[in-house]
Amino acid sequence: MTYNARQGPTDPRFATWIGATVVLFILSFVVGFVWLPSFQKGSGRADIWGIICRAVGLPSGKTRATESVPGQSSSNVAWTVSTRRQITQGGAARGGELAGTCNNCHGTNGISADAAFPNLAGQSVAAIYKQLEDFKGGKRNPEVMGVYLRELSQQDMLDLATHFASLPNPYAAAVSIPESVDATARHLVEVGNPLRNLAPCAACHGPLGLTFGAPGLQGQQRAYLEQQMQALAAGSRRNDISEQMRSVARQLTPSEIAMLAAYYSNGAGFAER
Protein backbone atom coordinates (compact mmCIF):
# COMPACT_ATOMS: atom_id res chain seq x y z
CA MET A 1 0.00 0.00 0.00
CA THR A 2 1.50 3.30 -0.94
CA TYR A 3 0.57 6.30 1.03
CA ASN A 4 -0.74 9.13 -1.03
CA ALA A 5 -1.84 12.07 1.04
CA ARG A 6 -5.45 12.09 0.07
CA GLN A 7 -7.15 14.66 2.21
CA GLY A 8 -10.48 14.38 3.93
CA PRO A 9 -12.97 11.57 3.85
CA THR A 10 -11.88 10.31 0.43
CA ASP A 11 -9.22 8.27 2.19
CA PRO A 12 -10.54 4.74 1.64
CA ARG A 13 -8.97 3.50 4.85
CA PHE A 14 -11.69 5.23 6.86
CA ALA A 15 -14.32 3.12 5.17
CA THR A 16 -12.27 -0.04 5.57
CA TRP A 17 -11.60 0.37 9.26
CA ILE A 18 -15.03 1.61 10.17
CA GLY A 19 -16.56 -1.16 8.14
CA ALA A 20 -14.41 -3.73 9.85
CA THR A 21 -15.42 -2.38 13.25
CA VAL A 22 -19.07 -2.56 12.33
CA VAL A 23 -18.68 -6.14 11.13
CA LEU A 24 -16.92 -7.01 14.37
CA PHE A 25 -19.73 -5.45 16.33
CA ILE A 26 -22.40 -7.36 14.44
CA LEU A 27 -20.59 -10.67 14.83
CA SER A 28 -20.07 -10.06 18.55
CA PHE A 29 -23.70 -9.19 18.86
CA VAL A 30 -24.87 -12.38 17.26
CA VAL A 31 -22.48 -14.57 19.24
CA GLY A 32 -22.92 -12.77 22.55
CA PHE A 33 -26.61 -11.99 22.54
CA VAL A 34 -28.01 -15.02 20.78
CA TRP A 35 -25.70 -17.96 20.25
CA LEU A 36 -23.83 -18.31 23.56
CA PRO A 37 -26.80 -17.49 25.80
CA SER A 38 -28.79 -20.19 24.03
CA PHE A 39 -26.66 -22.76 25.85
CA GLN A 40 -27.83 -21.57 29.25
CA LYS A 41 -30.36 -23.97 30.70
CA GLY A 42 -33.08 -23.53 33.21
CA SER A 43 -33.23 -19.79 32.81
CA GLY A 44 -36.86 -19.09 32.10
CA ARG A 45 -38.06 -18.47 28.57
CA ALA A 46 -36.23 -20.66 26.10
CA ASP A 47 -37.43 -18.93 22.95
CA ILE A 48 -35.15 -16.65 20.99
CA TRP A 49 -36.63 -13.43 22.32
CA GLY A 50 -36.35 -14.60 25.88
CA ILE A 51 -32.72 -15.50 25.30
CA ILE A 52 -31.94 -12.14 23.77
CA CYS A 53 -33.81 -10.23 26.47
CA ARG A 54 -31.89 -11.98 29.21
CA ALA A 55 -28.60 -11.38 27.46
CA VAL A 56 -29.39 -7.71 26.98
CA GLY A 57 -30.18 -7.45 30.67
CA LEU A 58 -33.82 -6.55 30.46
CA PRO A 59 -35.67 -6.98 33.73
CA SER A 60 -37.03 -10.49 33.83
CA GLY A 61 -40.39 -9.45 35.16
CA LYS A 62 -41.69 -11.17 38.23
CA THR A 63 -39.09 -12.90 40.27
CA ARG A 64 -39.38 -16.51 39.34
CA ALA A 65 -38.76 -18.01 42.73
CA THR A 66 -41.88 -16.66 44.33
CA GLU A 67 -42.86 -19.26 46.89
CA SER A 68 -41.79 -17.96 50.26
CA VAL A 69 -41.90 -19.67 53.59
CA PRO A 70 -44.30 -17.69 55.73
CA GLY A 71 -42.76 -16.05 58.72
CA GLN A 72 -42.63 -12.99 60.86
CA SER A 73 -40.48 -10.05 59.95
CA SER A 74 -37.78 -9.38 62.53
CA SER A 75 -38.87 -5.76 62.93
CA ASN A 76 -41.45 -3.44 61.47
CA VAL A 77 -38.88 -0.70 61.22
CA ALA A 78 -37.03 -0.41 57.95
CA TRP A 79 -34.37 2.20 57.34
CA THR A 80 -35.95 3.58 54.22
CA VAL A 81 -35.39 7.10 53.03
CA SER A 82 -38.59 8.30 54.64
CA THR A 83 -37.88 6.63 57.98
CA ARG A 84 -34.42 8.15 58.06
CA ARG A 85 -35.99 11.53 57.50
CA GLN A 86 -38.51 10.97 60.27
CA ILE A 87 -35.74 10.17 62.71
CA THR A 88 -34.56 13.75 62.47
CA GLN A 89 -38.00 15.17 63.24
CA GLY A 90 -38.35 14.40 66.92
CA GLY A 91 -38.53 17.17 69.51
CA ALA A 92 -36.32 16.80 72.58
CA ALA A 93 -38.27 19.23 74.70
CA ARG A 94 -41.56 17.48 74.15
CA GLY A 95 -39.83 14.19 74.70
CA GLY A 96 -38.59 15.40 78.05
CA GLU A 97 -42.13 16.12 79.10
CA LEU A 98 -43.25 12.63 78.10
CA ALA A 99 -40.36 10.95 79.84
CA GLY A 100 -41.73 11.11 83.36
CA THR A 101 -42.67 7.44 83.58
CA CYS A 102 -39.49 6.38 81.76
CA ASN A 103 -37.36 8.10 84.36
CA ASN A 104 -38.69 5.84 87.09
CA CYS A 105 -36.70 2.95 85.70
CA HIS A 106 -34.21 4.55 83.37
CA GLY A 107 -33.18 7.30 85.77
CA THR A 108 -33.81 11.05 85.66
CA ASN A 109 -30.61 11.66 83.72
CA GLY A 110 -31.04 8.67 81.52
CA ILE A 111 -28.70 6.65 83.72
CA SER A 112 -30.58 3.86 85.40
CA ALA A 113 -29.92 2.75 88.93
CA ASP A 114 -30.86 -0.84 88.19
CA ALA A 115 -28.40 -2.82 86.14
CA ALA A 116 -31.20 -4.64 84.36
CA PHE A 117 -32.53 -1.43 82.83
CA PRO A 118 -30.41 0.10 80.10
CA ASN A 119 -28.89 3.59 80.22
CA LEU A 120 -30.45 5.75 77.57
CA ALA A 121 -28.53 9.01 77.92
CA GLY A 122 -26.63 9.91 74.77
CA GLN A 123 -27.90 6.86 72.90
CA SER A 124 -28.58 7.18 69.18
CA VAL A 125 -32.02 8.44 68.21
CA ALA A 126 -32.45 5.75 65.59
CA ALA A 127 -31.51 2.99 68.02
CA ILE A 128 -33.92 4.12 70.74
CA TYR A 129 -36.74 4.71 68.26
CA LYS A 130 -36.37 1.28 66.71
CA GLN A 131 -36.45 -0.49 70.05
CA LEU A 132 -39.54 1.44 71.08
CA GLU A 133 -41.31 0.48 67.85
CA ASP A 134 -40.20 -3.12 68.24
CA PHE A 135 -41.48 -3.33 71.81
CA LYS A 136 -44.75 -1.79 70.82
CA GLY A 137 -45.14 -4.06 67.82
CA GLY A 138 -44.35 -7.18 69.78
CA LYS A 139 -41.11 -7.81 67.87
CA ARG A 140 -39.23 -7.53 71.14
CA ASN A 141 -40.51 -9.05 74.36
CA PRO A 142 -43.57 -6.90 75.09
CA GLU A 143 -43.89 -8.13 78.67
CA VAL A 144 -41.32 -5.65 79.88
CA MET A 145 -42.04 -2.49 77.92
CA GLY A 146 -45.30 -3.12 76.15
CA VAL A 147 -47.59 -1.54 78.74
CA TYR A 148 -45.67 1.73 78.71
CA LEU A 149 -45.79 2.08 74.96
CA ARG A 150 -49.34 1.10 74.21
CA GLU A 151 -50.59 4.68 74.19
CA LEU A 152 -47.62 6.25 72.46
CA SER A 153 -47.80 7.48 68.88
CA GLN A 154 -44.95 7.38 66.42
CA GLN A 155 -44.26 11.08 67.01
CA ASP A 156 -44.20 10.45 70.78
CA MET A 157 -41.60 7.79 70.33
CA LEU A 158 -39.52 10.00 68.07
CA ASP A 159 -39.66 12.79 70.64
CA LEU A 160 -38.68 10.49 73.47
CA ALA A 161 -35.79 9.11 71.48
CA THR A 162 -34.57 12.59 70.63
CA HIS A 163 -34.84 13.63 74.28
CA PHE A 164 -32.77 10.78 75.61
CA ALA A 165 -30.24 11.14 72.84
CA SER A 166 -29.73 14.73 73.83
CA LEU A 167 -28.89 13.97 77.44
CA PRO A 168 -25.25 14.49 78.21
CA ASN A 169 -22.86 11.58 77.95
CA PRO A 170 -22.60 9.83 81.24
CA TYR A 171 -19.28 9.03 82.84
CA ALA A 172 -19.47 5.53 84.20
CA ALA A 173 -17.71 4.89 87.45
CA ALA A 174 -14.34 3.41 86.69
CA VAL A 175 -14.41 -0.28 87.35
CA SER A 176 -11.11 -2.02 87.08
CA ILE A 177 -11.16 -5.12 84.94
CA PRO A 178 -8.39 -7.66 84.72
CA GLU A 179 -5.82 -7.20 81.96
CA SER A 180 -6.72 -10.51 80.35
CA VAL A 181 -10.39 -9.60 80.17
CA ASP A 182 -9.52 -6.25 78.73
CA ALA A 183 -7.22 -7.79 76.13
CA THR A 184 -9.75 -10.32 74.89
CA ALA A 185 -12.51 -7.79 74.73
CA ARG A 186 -10.33 -5.21 73.02
CA HIS A 187 -9.32 -7.70 70.41
CA LEU A 188 -12.94 -8.43 69.55
CA VAL A 189 -13.90 -4.77 69.62
CA GLU A 190 -11.00 -3.51 67.54
CA VAL A 191 -10.20 -6.32 65.12
CA GLY A 192 -12.80 -9.05 65.63
CA ASN A 193 -12.27 -12.63 64.53
CA PRO A 194 -12.62 -12.98 60.76
CA LEU A 195 -13.01 -16.69 60.36
CA ARG A 196 -15.76 -16.77 62.95
CA ASN A 197 -17.44 -14.10 60.85
CA LEU A 198 -16.87 -11.56 63.60
CA ALA A 199 -16.15 -8.11 62.32
CA PRO A 200 -14.81 -5.73 64.98
CA CYS A 201 -17.69 -4.48 67.14
CA ALA A 202 -16.39 -0.97 66.53
CA ALA A 203 -17.10 -1.34 62.81
CA CYS A 204 -20.84 -0.98 63.42
CA HIS A 205 -21.05 0.50 66.91
CA GLY A 206 -18.33 3.09 66.47
CA PRO A 207 -15.78 4.57 66.43
CA LEU A 208 -14.44 2.72 63.37
CA GLY A 209 -17.76 2.86 61.57
CA LEU A 210 -21.41 3.38 62.24
CA THR A 211 -24.31 1.34 60.91
CA PHE A 212 -27.55 3.27 60.87
CA GLY A 213 -29.56 2.32 63.92
CA ALA A 214 -26.71 0.57 65.71
CA PRO A 215 -26.74 1.50 69.39
CA GLY A 216 -23.75 2.94 71.19
CA LEU A 217 -22.36 0.50 73.74
CA GLN A 218 -19.89 2.55 75.76
CA GLY A 219 -21.07 3.15 79.29
CA GLN A 220 -24.03 0.78 79.03
CA GLN A 221 -25.16 -1.27 82.02
CA ARG A 222 -23.06 -4.40 82.27
CA ALA A 223 -25.79 -6.83 83.27
CA TYR A 224 -28.12 -5.49 80.60
CA LEU A 225 -25.50 -5.93 77.88
CA GLU A 226 -24.77 -9.46 78.93
CA GLN A 227 -28.44 -10.36 79.15
CA GLN A 228 -29.25 -8.99 75.70
CA MET A 229 -26.29 -10.70 74.03
CA GLN A 230 -27.29 -13.98 75.58
CA ALA A 231 -30.86 -13.50 74.39
CA LEU A 232 -29.63 -12.77 70.87
CA ALA A 233 -27.39 -15.81 70.94
CA ALA A 234 -30.23 -18.03 72.05
CA GLY A 235 -32.64 -16.47 69.57
CA SER A 236 -35.11 -15.41 72.24
CA ARG A 237 -34.47 -11.82 71.19
CA ARG A 238 -34.91 -11.63 67.44
CA ASN A 239 -35.70 -8.06 66.48
CA ASP A 240 -32.31 -7.40 64.84
CA ILE A 241 -32.84 -6.79 61.13
CA SER A 242 -31.83 -9.82 59.06
CA GLU A 243 -30.06 -11.47 62.01
CA GLN A 244 -27.28 -8.88 62.06
CA MET A 245 -26.69 -9.36 65.78
CA ARG A 246 -27.87 -12.92 66.20
CA SER A 247 -25.23 -14.12 63.76
CA VAL A 248 -22.61 -12.28 65.82
CA ALA A 249 -23.88 -13.33 69.24
CA ARG A 250 -24.09 -17.00 68.23
CA GLN A 251 -20.39 -17.00 67.43
CA LEU A 252 -19.36 -15.62 70.83
CA THR A 253 -18.74 -17.84 73.82
CA PRO A 254 -20.48 -16.96 77.10
CA SER A 255 -17.20 -15.84 78.60
CA GLU A 256 -16.50 -13.59 75.63
CA ILE A 257 -19.92 -12.05 76.08
CA ALA A 258 -19.16 -11.43 79.72
CA MET A 259 -15.82 -9.83 78.89
CA LEU A 260 -17.34 -7.60 76.26
CA ALA A 261 -20.03 -6.49 78.69
CA ALA A 262 -17.36 -5.67 81.25
CA TYR A 263 -15.32 -3.80 78.67
CA TYR A 264 -18.14 -1.67 77.34
CA SER A 265 -19.69 -0.86 80.70
CA ASN A 266 -16.32 0.42 81.79
CA GLY A 267 -16.32 3.05 79.09
CA ALA A 268 -16.13 6.74 79.77
CA GLY A 269 -19.23 7.53 77.81
CA PHE A 270 -21.21 6.84 74.69
CA ALA A 271 -19.54 7.51 71.37
CA GLU A 272 -20.57 10.90 69.97
CA ARG A 273 -23.48 10.79 67.56
Binding site: F39, A78, P194, N197, A199
Partner: protein, 181 residues
Protein backbone atom coordinates in the same frame (compact mmCIF):
# COMPACT_ATOMS: atom_id res chain seq x y z
CA UNK B 1 -2.47 -3.23 -2.63
CA UNK B 2 0.58 -5.43 -2.20
CA UNK B 3 3.30 -4.33 0.23
CA UNK B 4 5.99 -2.28 -1.42
CA UNK B 5 8.92 -2.85 0.87
CA UNK B 6 10.40 -5.22 3.38
CA UNK B 7 9.03 -3.29 6.35
CA UNK B 8 5.50 -3.58 5.09
CA UNK B 9 5.95 -7.25 4.23
CA UNK B 10 7.05 -8.15 7.73
CA UNK B 11 4.22 -6.08 9.17
CA UNK B 12 1.73 -8.07 7.13
CA UNK B 13 3.22 -11.29 8.41
CA UNK B 14 2.97 -10.07 11.98
CA UNK B 15 -0.62 -9.03 11.38
CA UNK B 16 -1.43 -12.66 10.65
CA UNK B 17 0.27 -13.70 13.91
CA UNK B 18 -1.74 -11.15 15.85
CA UNK B 19 -4.95 -12.25 14.20
CA UNK B 20 -4.19 -15.86 15.12
CA UNK B 21 -3.50 -15.00 18.75
CA UNK B 22 -6.70 -13.03 19.09
CA UNK B 23 -8.61 -15.64 17.15
CA UNK B 24 -7.32 -18.35 19.44
CA UNK B 25 -8.49 -16.40 22.49
CA UNK B 26 -11.95 -16.13 20.98
CA UNK B 27 -12.07 -19.80 20.16
CA UNK B 28 -11.22 -20.76 23.72
CA UNK B 29 -13.80 -18.38 25.15
CA UNK B 30 -16.53 -19.49 22.78
CA UNK B 31 -15.71 -23.15 23.26
CA UNK B 32 -15.97 -22.87 27.03
CA UNK B 33 -19.23 -20.99 26.76
CA UNK B 34 -20.66 -23.62 24.47
CA UNK B 35 -19.23 -26.77 26.00
CA UNK B 36 -19.58 -25.95 29.68
CA UNK B 37 -22.34 -23.38 29.29
CA UNK B 38 -19.97 -21.08 31.13
CA UNK B 39 -21.18 -17.52 31.13
CA UNK B 40 -21.00 -14.59 33.52
CA UNK B 41 -24.18 -13.76 35.45
CA UNK B 42 -27.00 -12.44 33.30
CA UNK B 43 -30.15 -11.84 35.23
CA UNK B 44 -31.70 -8.48 35.87
CA UNK B 45 -34.06 -8.40 38.83
CA UNK B 46 -34.46 -5.40 41.07
CA UNK B 47 -35.68 -5.33 44.64
CA UNK B 48 -36.18 -2.69 47.30
CA UNK B 49 -33.02 -2.93 49.38
CA UNK B 50 -34.29 -1.14 52.47
CA UNK B 51 -37.33 -3.38 52.90
CA UNK B 52 -35.85 -6.84 52.47
CA UNK B 53 -36.71 -8.05 55.96
CA UNK B 54 -40.30 -6.81 55.96
CA UNK B 55 -41.76 -9.17 53.41
CA UNK B 56 -40.96 -11.17 50.31
CA UNK B 57 -38.24 -13.43 49.08
CA UNK B 58 -35.45 -12.23 51.43
CA UNK B 59 -37.29 -12.31 54.75
CA UNK B 60 -35.20 -14.22 57.22
CA UNK B 61 -37.59 -17.15 57.35
CA UNK B 62 -37.01 -17.62 53.63
CA UNK B 63 -33.20 -17.52 53.63
CA UNK B 64 -31.09 -20.61 53.29
CA UNK B 65 -31.21 -23.68 51.09
CA UNK B 66 -34.54 -24.59 49.52
CA UNK B 67 -35.00 -27.83 47.61
CA UNK B 68 -37.02 -27.33 44.44
CA UNK B 69 -39.53 -29.78 43.00
CA UNK B 70 -37.09 -30.69 40.22
CA UNK B 71 -34.39 -31.67 42.75
CA UNK B 72 -32.24 -28.57 42.29
CA UNK B 73 -31.73 -26.19 45.18
CA UNK B 74 -32.01 -22.44 45.51
CA UNK B 75 -29.83 -20.80 48.15
CA UNK B 76 -31.05 -17.37 49.22
CA UNK B 77 -28.40 -15.25 50.90
CA UNK B 78 -28.25 -11.74 52.24
CA UNK B 79 -24.90 -9.96 52.31
CA UNK B 80 -24.85 -7.11 54.82
CA UNK B 81 -22.41 -5.17 56.87
CA UNK B 82 -20.71 -7.46 58.06
CA UNK B 83 -22.09 -10.94 57.69
CA UNK B 84 -23.71 -13.24 55.22
CA UNK B 85 -27.03 -14.67 56.29
CA UNK B 86 -27.02 -17.60 56.67
CA UNK B 87 -23.35 -17.57 57.53
CA UNK B 88 -23.10 -21.29 57.14
CA UNK B 89 -24.63 -22.52 53.89
CA UNK B 90 -25.27 -26.21 53.37
CA UNK B 91 -25.85 -27.68 49.92
CA UNK B 92 -25.99 -31.15 48.39
CA UNK B 93 -23.29 -32.32 45.99
CA UNK B 94 -23.97 -33.32 42.40
CA UNK B 95 -26.99 -31.05 42.28
CA UNK B 96 -27.72 -27.84 40.45
CA UNK B 97 -27.39 -24.99 42.96
CA UNK B 98 -28.69 -21.51 42.24
CA UNK B 99 -27.50 -18.73 44.53
CA UNK B 100 -29.77 -15.72 44.81
CA UNK B 101 -28.17 -12.91 46.78
CA UNK B 102 -28.87 -9.32 47.59
CA UNK B 103 -27.83 -6.65 50.06
CA UNK B 104 -29.77 -4.21 52.22
CA UNK B 105 -26.93 -1.73 52.46
CA UNK B 106 -23.75 -1.47 50.35
CA UNK B 107 -21.86 -3.37 47.69
CA UNK B 108 -20.57 -6.77 48.70
CA UNK B 109 -19.45 -9.79 46.77
CA UNK B 110 -18.56 -13.36 47.43
CA UNK B 111 -16.45 -16.15 46.13
CA UNK B 112 -16.52 -19.77 47.22
CA UNK B 113 -13.00 -21.09 47.69
CA UNK B 114 -11.83 -23.86 45.36
CA UNK B 115 -14.75 -23.21 43.02
CA UNK B 116 -15.47 -20.68 40.32
CA UNK B 117 -18.55 -19.32 42.09
CA UNK B 118 -17.97 -15.60 42.16
CA UNK B 119 -20.47 -12.79 42.17
CA UNK B 120 -20.99 -9.21 43.16
CA UNK B 121 -23.90 -8.51 45.48
CA UNK B 122 -25.50 -5.17 44.84
CA UNK B 123 -28.21 -3.46 46.89
CA UNK B 124 -31.26 -3.01 44.71
CA UNK B 125 -30.49 -6.04 42.55
CA UNK B 126 -30.71 -9.79 42.95
CA UNK B 127 -27.46 -11.47 41.93
CA UNK B 128 -27.96 -14.93 40.53
CA UNK B 129 -25.19 -17.47 40.08
CA UNK B 130 -25.71 -21.13 39.32
CA UNK B 131 -23.26 -23.96 39.73
CA UNK B 132 -22.79 -27.56 40.68
CA UNK B 133 -20.55 -28.88 43.44
CA UNK B 134 -19.10 -32.20 42.33
CA UNK B 135 -17.67 -33.38 45.64
CA UNK B 136 -18.60 -33.06 49.31
CA UNK B 137 -16.34 -30.77 51.32
CA UNK B 138 -16.02 -27.54 53.22
CA UNK B 139 -15.37 -24.20 51.58
CA UNK B 140 -14.81 -20.66 52.75
CA UNK B 141 -16.97 -17.89 51.38
CA UNK B 142 -15.41 -14.49 51.98
CA UNK B 143 -16.79 -11.14 50.99
CA UNK B 144 -14.52 -9.83 48.27
CA UNK B 145 -15.69 -6.28 47.70
CA UNK B 146 -14.81 -3.49 50.11
CA UNK B 147 -17.87 -2.79 52.20
CA UNK B 148 -16.21 -0.47 54.74
CA UNK B 149 -14.28 -1.14 57.93
CA UNK B 150 -15.67 -4.54 58.83
CA UNK B 151 -15.06 -6.06 55.40
CA UNK B 152 -12.16 -8.20 56.56
CA UNK B 153 -14.39 -9.92 59.12
CA UNK B 154 -16.93 -11.09 56.62
CA UNK B 155 -16.34 -14.78 56.03
CA UNK B 156 -19.07 -17.38 55.67
CA UNK B 157 -18.74 -21.11 55.13
CA UNK B 158 -20.23 -23.48 52.61
CA UNK B 159 -20.63 -27.14 53.52
CA UNK B 160 -21.23 -29.47 50.60
CA UNK B 161 -22.75 -32.75 51.71
CA UNK B 162 -23.28 -35.94 49.84
CA UNK B 163 -26.76 -35.85 48.32
CA UNK B 164 -28.19 -38.56 50.54
CA UNK B 165 -26.67 -37.19 53.70
CA UNK B 166 -28.11 -33.80 52.87
CA UNK B 167 -31.54 -35.36 52.43
CA UNK B 168 -31.17 -37.25 55.69
CA UNK B 169 -30.09 -34.26 57.77
CA UNK B 170 -31.98 -31.45 56.09
CA UNK B 171 -34.62 -33.11 53.99
CA UNK B 172 -37.47 -32.17 56.25
CA UNK B 173 -36.54 -28.51 56.53
CA UNK B 174 -38.02 -26.09 54.06
CA UNK B 175 -35.03 -23.75 54.47
CA UNK B 176 -31.80 -25.43 55.51
CA UNK B 177 -28.65 -23.89 56.88
CA UNK B 178 -25.83 -24.87 59.21
CA UNK B 179 -25.74 -21.44 60.88
CA UNK B 180 -25.44 -21.51 64.60
CA UNK B 181 -23.94 -24.98 64.60
Amino acid sequence: MPPTNEVERSEHRWAYVVASVIGFVFIVIIFSSVHWAAQPPSNLETIDASRLHLAGEFMESNLGTAVQPDGSVIVRVIAQQYSFVPDCIVVPASTRVVFRATSPDVLHGFLISDTNVNSMVMPGFIAVVSTRFDKPGDHLMPCHEYCSVGHQGMWARVKVLDRFEFARLYGNQSRASCAGK
